[in-house]
Point group: C3
Chain length 155, copies 3
């Protein structure tokens, strides 16, 4: 790996830091989104939540699953499954001293693909919109992992 003082102050690390924060914020947005659907659809997972929106028998009816709520939750879980590897591999990749232009390309495509993935999932757009956006983000992370492991392997 390159000299350390060139690393965290470097433009690559700043770029990583910016895009990683953006994509993590996007993932966090799914939580209020789930809450919004749970409240408008009156579909709660916990009796104590349903109790706020209705009393007695009515509250019990609100403890149920709803297609829209489940859709947001699947979207959130898919974000977790993909943004966690991006964050981890991206951090190590950014510290392995890649070319700035290449790194920016990776980060931008990934963030774009995840934003498009969420839109495709929540609208929902017809397939293969969602499958493609998932696949693009997946390949970006694989590409960073390939570059990372090929430049600095220590088993």
């Amino acid at each position: 790996m390159a000299e350390l003082t060139q690393l965290i102050d470097s433009e690559v690390f700043l770029a990583y830091s910016t895009y990683a924060a953006i994509v993590l914020l996007k993932m966090m947005l799914m939580s209020p989104c789930t809450a919004y659907f749970r409240i408008t659809r009156k579909a709660f997972a916990n009796p104590e939540d349903a109790g706020v929106h209705g009393k007695g028998e009515q509250a019990k009816k609100y403890v149920r699953t709803d297609q829209d709520v489940e859709r947001v939750r699947r979207c959130h879980l898919n974000d977790l499954e993909n943004i966690v590897p991006f964050f981890g591999i991206g951090l190590l990749y950014a510290l392995s001293g890649p070319d700035l232009y290449t790194a920016l390309l990776h980060f931008r495509i990934f963030v774009g693909s995840r934003v498009f993935h969420s839109i495709s999932y929540l609208v929902p757009l017809p397939q293969p919109c969602r499958a493609l956006s998932f696949f693009v983000g997946f390949c970006v992370t694989i590409s960073m992992a390939y570059r990372l492991l090929s430049t600095s392997l220590y088993l």
Copy 2:
């Protein structure tokens, strides 16, 4: 960003490292907690697990969902959804050279809010205990992301 040698050895990074480790350990605790509820409630997800606690027809009955088990699992998933962004954004925030007092305030409030969130979820305490503790932790992460992006944006 500030000079590198001041960063990882800095008190801010040490504080981040301590609180991040604590909150990750708290999240890991949910796994034995799930196992405990699965075994005491005899509610397993896999036939091979149920087979350890009963034979034949009885084992089949144990492959079921249970309200208490599902509650722990939702609590665990909520931890993942919130602690992952805290870990990621917090790391970048700690490296962006914030004021020590402000940083400690962020980390302490977040860890406190997540511990209180788990207690609210598992007891369960009446709402809005859980909603408030979730919201406090959420705002801490947003606040760190705001400070991070406002001091070091590189698009």
Copy 3:
């Protein structure tokens, strides 16, 4: 913590970087694995996905849960629950300047235990294969957290 210039360029950090990338890639593998089972078992979560593999009434039948698909998804979620703490605590541990031999031992055992966990889950092997592999990985992370917190605690 040790001098910074000795850290990220150090063999410990290189080793961490390699093993973390490998275990994150392993986790990512679960996504195509889920897709494979969803397509071969014809069990989809979204109507727009089922619509690609069948028309009208048939598509509706494909929106269902399947035991094999659920098994892969549980395996994926368990990976998330365990690999996220490993990644986080491992990163801070690698930066706290541990002994190279000890660190390598931790990383290798963790990666081995998670690979064996996935195999145990997906085959599935009889218990306690999966429980043991989970437990070994869990203890490795706890051990790193212990060393981290005992050398650099800042509350």
